[in-house]
Symmetry: C2
Subunit: 786 residues, 2 copies
């Protein structure tokens, strides 16, 4: 078990054996110092005496003698220290230091087992998600001494460079010292080149042997006792993501491991590091606040609290971090120009989080510990620090941290090795990897990262752009169907050009367009904003007609307000009330597809996706409207095009009735975020803000189900729906769109469940490619061992 559990206790020393050791070695100071070290460590570990108190005793003796280094302590001082140590132990623990070696052993073993439950260990396991019932082990080992003189020493080595991955022994050596001295960092060690050359040769040979044996880069500790090399321990070495990729690809090249093994070695979660700018791990930085790590990457810029100002400064080329209570569609222009976004409210699916992930921009959201006062141009941290408009700050979207000033960063780089590895992964995987991309920019990025199609193109954006929003509002405020159709007609040209650009870019790859999902009130101002505007109009003595329009708007806002918008009048429900909305969208999509084929001479693969379906009847009803709209375009353009109509599976009922739904759907796409919300009855935003951390702390959940797919519940629905859907319709294509599509464990689940593809945001595509390959490799392995 790696990490903090490997304390080494040199047992067996007592007053008597210390004297014996002094006689054998002819070095009284050495043996006394060994005894002193033993008591110090044993007292701390086995008898739980505060370690600081031992240090204080040593310090007081050094001061008395006027010396600075431990090695300057003479045998007489060491004897006094040993006496003081024993006294400290007696007072502090109420026990006597055992002289019997077996008793020492027993107590030490007990202490190790006890250490499994100390708070640090518990915290460590919680962080690394290590099971509590795994247990620990105790290793008994013969002692050798690196502090037997100048021909002795100790060191730590990596068989390859853990930062760069270079194939070159890398480590540190400390002459005339024990292992703890290196680990504790009391003396500064030399490089391995400072070792005696013959020992250094031994070390190279050992390194080679270790790699041949473990087929992995090793991190090992060694001691040299009188020019003889002893190995204390070895383990797989930790490495940066960059090094991990290089080492895996190199080892496959050296035929030390297979390509499949090389893929399996990569922790897909680390890949984010390679795709986003990160804070240099060597930099010593302290966070002033912490929020949710909503969109990975680090960014620095001046804090700006107003969207327009952020847009203006950003356009000039200034680096800006947009800091807002929360963001709305109207903040888009500021977000586009900003380096990163920091919000006080909102969870992992808040507007800011979703938009930032889609753009690959760093974002920290829900940073509720800061008090933001945008009007007076500052925010205040929980520790009372005030950050004013214009001050430089850095946000780390991978950790959720907010830092003052700028910090050293590491730029992302898609190395040749990484490309090689991704190529190997593609050869191994069965799952397709598609992208969630709403804009041509996102689609471009997705293609760069290897997307084989667009699995989710949300159309909300096409309603949200500044020149379109007024028309959308006309549509919402329409008194009757005719007025609504008229407004929708005026929106078609905008959508047409958006879709054409998307189709051209994807050049024959499938593009899945999800029809409007958001509730209409998302396109209106909030009630507070409307009330404020009415006040403003009154103060300015605006004409009665303007007031009346705003009052009508407010009435509409009230009419559309909902108790639980997530479960309200949105998705296909909106289209069942107003089928003309989906008809107009279909017209734009089909027209764009035909025009693209005509103009660019390329195939266009169109998939139209209906959101929030919960029954086959909804599907039948809307399919009829979509098909009728498509037919009208075919007739008018005297040309037909193939297209598919499918449904998202994002309500439990859709999954439970998938066999029926599949009769009317050409494809299924699991919307795992909403499906998780409804299966658990968790509103993601509310759960993350209110109780998720408590659930994780108490291990009621091992992972947030919004990050790692819940295989038992949500996954069961997915497997059922996949099987029953395919049984009813053997041509059914089945994928998932949702951020789970880019998460390792979840991708493994989707592979095993037998889906056709995963779709995730552009920056998660490499992760998905690796994870899909790992899942396929793991399955093959399992199958071949059965």
């Amino acid at each position: 078990m790696p990490g903090m559990m490997d304390t080494i206790l040199n047992l067996g020393l007592n007053d008597e054996t210390t004297e014996t050791l002094a006689k054998i070695t002819g070095n009284e100071r050495f043996s006394l110092d060994a005894h002193r070290r033993f008591i110090q460590m044993f007292g701390k570990i086995a008898l739980s005496v505060n370690g600081q108190k031992f240090e204080e005793i040593i310090e007081s003796h050094k001061k008395k003698l006027g010396v600075k280094q431990d090695v300057e302590l003479n045998p007489q001082a060491l004897r006094k220290i040993i006496q003081d140590f024993k006294e400290l132990i007696r007072l502090d623990s109420g026990k006597r230091l055992p002289q019997d070696a077996w008793m020492q052993l027993e107590m030490a073993v007990e202490a190790v087992f006890r250490s499994w439950s100390n708070p640090r260990a518990v915290e460590y396991r919680r962080f690394y998600k290590i099971a509590d019932d795994l247990g620990t082990a105790v290793t008994l080992q013969q002692m050798v001494f690196g502090n037997m003189g100048r021909d002795s020493g100790t060191g730590v080595a990596f068989t390859r460079n853990p930062s760069t991955g270079d194939r070159k022994l890398y480590g540190e050596y400390l002459r005339n010292a024990q292992g703890e001295d290196v680990v504790a960092g009391i003396r500064t060690p030399d490089s391995l080149d400072a070792m005696p050359p013959e020992i250094r040769l031994d070390l190279d040979r050992v390194s080679e042997t270790l790699e041949q044996h473990f087929k992995e880069m090793q991190d090992f500790e060694f001691t040299v006792e009188n020019m003889k090399l002893y190995l204390l321990q070895t383990r797989n070495g930790k490495r940066t993501a960059h090094a991990a990729v290089k080492i895996a690809v190199d080892m496959a090249g050296e035929t030390l491991i297979s390509r499949e093994e090389a893929i399996a070695r990569i922790n897909p979660g680390d890949i984010d590091q390679l795709l986003h700018r990160t804070i240099d791990p060597k930099a010593h930085v302290k966070a002033i606040a912490k929020g949710l790590n909503a969109s990975p990457g680090a960014a620095s810029g001046i804090a700006v609290f107003d969207t327009d100002e952020a847009a203006k400064l950003g356009a000039k080329g200034d680096k800006v971090i947009l800091v807002r209570p929360e963001t709305t569609p109207e903040d888009i222009r500021g977000i586009i120009r900003a380096q990163g976004i920091l919000t006080v409210r909102g969870g992992m699916t808040s507007h800011a989080a979703v938009v930032a992930r889609g753009m690959g921009k760093a974002a920290v959201v829900g940073c509720s510990s800061i008090r933001l006062d945008p009007d007076n141009g500052y925010f205040k941290t929980s520790e009372g620090m005030i950050v004013k408009r214009g001050e430089l700050i850095t946000i780390d979207g991978s950790t959720g941290e907010v830092l003052l000033g700028t910090v050293p960063m590491i730029e992302p780089e898609l190395t040749e090795d990484f490309r090689t590895l991704l190529g190997w992964a593609d050869a191994s995987r069965r799952l397709g990897v598609w992208a969630n991309a709403d804009t041509p920019e996102a689609a471009k990025k997705a293609k760069e990262f290897g997307a084989e199609g667009i699995g989710l193109c949300r159309t909300e954006r096409m309603f949200n752009a500044p020149e379109r929003l007024p028309i959308v509002r006309e549509m919402i405020m329409a008194e009757d169907e005719d007025e609504r159709r008229e407004a929708l007609r005026r929106l078609i040209p905008f959508q047409l050009s958006d879709f054409k650009e998307m189709f051209r870019l994807m050049a024959g790859k499938p593009v899945t367009v999800r029809l409007l999902d958001l509730p209409l009130h998302e396109f209106l101002p909030s009630a507070e904003e409307a009330v404020e505007e009415i006040e403003n109009l009154r103060k300015r003595h605006a004409p009665a007609s303007a007031l009346e329009t705003e009052a009508r708007l407010l009435t509409k806002v009230h009419q559309l307000s909902e108790h639980n918008p997530m479960l309200g009048h949105r998705g296909c429900r909106l289209a069942i009330t107003y089928p003309e909305i989906y008809e107009a969208q279909t017209e734009a999509i089909i027209r764009a597809a035909i025009e693209t084929r005509r103009e660019a001479g390329q195939t266009v693969r169109v998939l139209i996706m209906l959101p929030l379906i919960s029954s086959a009847n909804e599907m039948i009803y809307l399919r009829r409207h979509v098909e009728a709209a498509a037919e009208r375009v075919f007739e008018e353009m005297e040309e037909k095009i193939d297209y598919k109509i499918g449904t998202m599976i994002e309500t439990p009922r859709a999954a439970l009735t998938a066999g029926e739904l599949a009769k009317y759907a050409d494809f299924f796409s699991f919307g795992t975020n909403d499906l998780t919300q409804t299966t658990y009855a968790f509103s993601r935003d509310d759960a993350e803000a209110k109780f998720m951390s408590r659930y994780l702390e108490n291990k009621i959940l091992t992972d947030s189900p919004f990050e790692v797919l819940d295989a038992q519940g949500v996954g069961r629905l997915i497997s059922m729906a996949n099987q029953e859907g395919r049984k009813a319709n053997p041509k059914l294509e089945v994928g998932i769109c949702g951020e789970h599509g880019g998460e390792t464990k979840s991708v493994a689940f989707f592979h095993q469940a037998g889906l056709d593809y995963v779709s995730c945001s552009a920056y998660r595509i490499p992760v998905a490619r690796i994870a899909a390959a790992q899942a396929a490799i793991a399955t093959t392995k399992t199958m071949s061992t059965v």
Copy 2:
């Protein structure tokens, strides 16, 4: 097929056959009138000529002749009328009246089939939920004539009285007339006693034969032609709920049918009529507004817009209808004293609806067409009618109608026959019938109606009472766990007496207590109210400390606000954050149980139910806290008591992981309202306010899944959970609580799914008893025919 489709067309008459008929009968006037009637009916039905125009022609001729009755028209006039009718048909339909009998037949048959799609028929089917693809039929029958003279006639009869159920032939007779004359109500018919006595004897004999044959009360039409009785048609007679019960019980007594058949005859939906005061169906009343029929029964009283006023007037004995925008827990004192509740906002699960159903009080909610101005003391209907405070109004909670003034009503009565029938039902059913009852009053009512236990006692009420709310708020505002525990401790005595009363009342029957489910913000004022209070305090120059307290409250309100409260921090999630809440509730429950046993010397069966569980880990965690709290009481009181801990199954995930959950649960209770909300991803309030009517109109849903359980989706989850839960824990008890427990089709489903009991509000218990018996009888039948 009963109802509007059974138009009778006397075919075969034309100019020639009319003359022949005149010769045979020697009655020219009669044959001409038959011809006239035929043309009129054929023109209207087969050629779609507006029926009113025929009437106008007859009227003009009568006026010309100066006569008043049709029978006064002489042959000459009838000839002219026939000419005018033919001309009308030619002009209006562009077709000639066919003379050929076969052609007439063909056109008439076509017309009948066409009538299946006319708007009235479509509307009728929608209302009665008759499938569109069922189709209709045409019957050809030999003609006889009731208008052949004074020894002829026509009539309608019921074999028993359809209003009272009395076993006595009941009907009407019209001398020298055809069937249409009775149906159309043009002439006023006599009672059956006006028939020639010998024919009346025949009629009694026929009535007996019909009942013996159909084993059902018959509604039949007959014609007497020259003293000979002919039957035109017979069908099962419609009857009042009261008559239905009496007839069923009587027929079983007469051994005409079995007791099982008697039970099967009852439409459980009609039973509401027997349990609630209803508006006299004979009264001619017009609604001034219509809302949701939230709680059945009709009530009259003066409109009062203020809770305190309603409470005061009600306490004096005045009859009051409390009219509010919506209700909150603070309105309870007004609701208790009011005859009924009318709200402008809110759906079928709004506070007003739930409270009213629980109290068996009439309520109309979500009556959004009225504009309420409580401050100025009036409301205004959509037609501009103004109803002021103090004016008499009537609400009908069974239909959702609001009426002006008082109207004649029928008082409910639990007749002896009904008791007999319920007794038979109890002997037939397998499902237990328990009650949802939060208060001793409701529990009393439930016992009266035959509840075998309490399946759901919500504890929210115990936090909501006026003297407790301030302590609840202290608990919410607590700075730390100690403060919270202290406030909870002070709430225990209140809960203790509530539980003791409940246990005593139920005298050994099981009582299922659901621990707190509501989110905490439900116990605080709204943000608007808090802001207003701060304004008020400022205006009154209140001390700074009062202002600060209110400001703290507002901050808390903001902190607790949620995007989707239904999916938020409520139920077991709240208790995982603050386990002390459930611990305090458990202490009160267990203490009350032991004290009741000691004081009343009766057994107490306690079931503690955890709401909104979605994973076994939640169950394990909370079970531990509940058990620890119970153990502390056992120790302190030096006495133990048996109790069970179970879970509601109201999230899809709980159902999907029921096999795991059942290991830690003694019982399951399906919360079908929330389970329906999450399975469909429908927020009930929002769905009912925004899109449910559209879904029903377009037959995307055949019933609201909140009224009739969705067997395909929600039902599948219930069946899975029931099977997998019992497999994992054979001792598991499984029931459902939720209004579906009192709905006929849903109860049939629960019976088939193999649950142990249903639990519903007191007033639905008789319905559930009948429905459960019907389901058992239907299953036995199916099994015996297999």
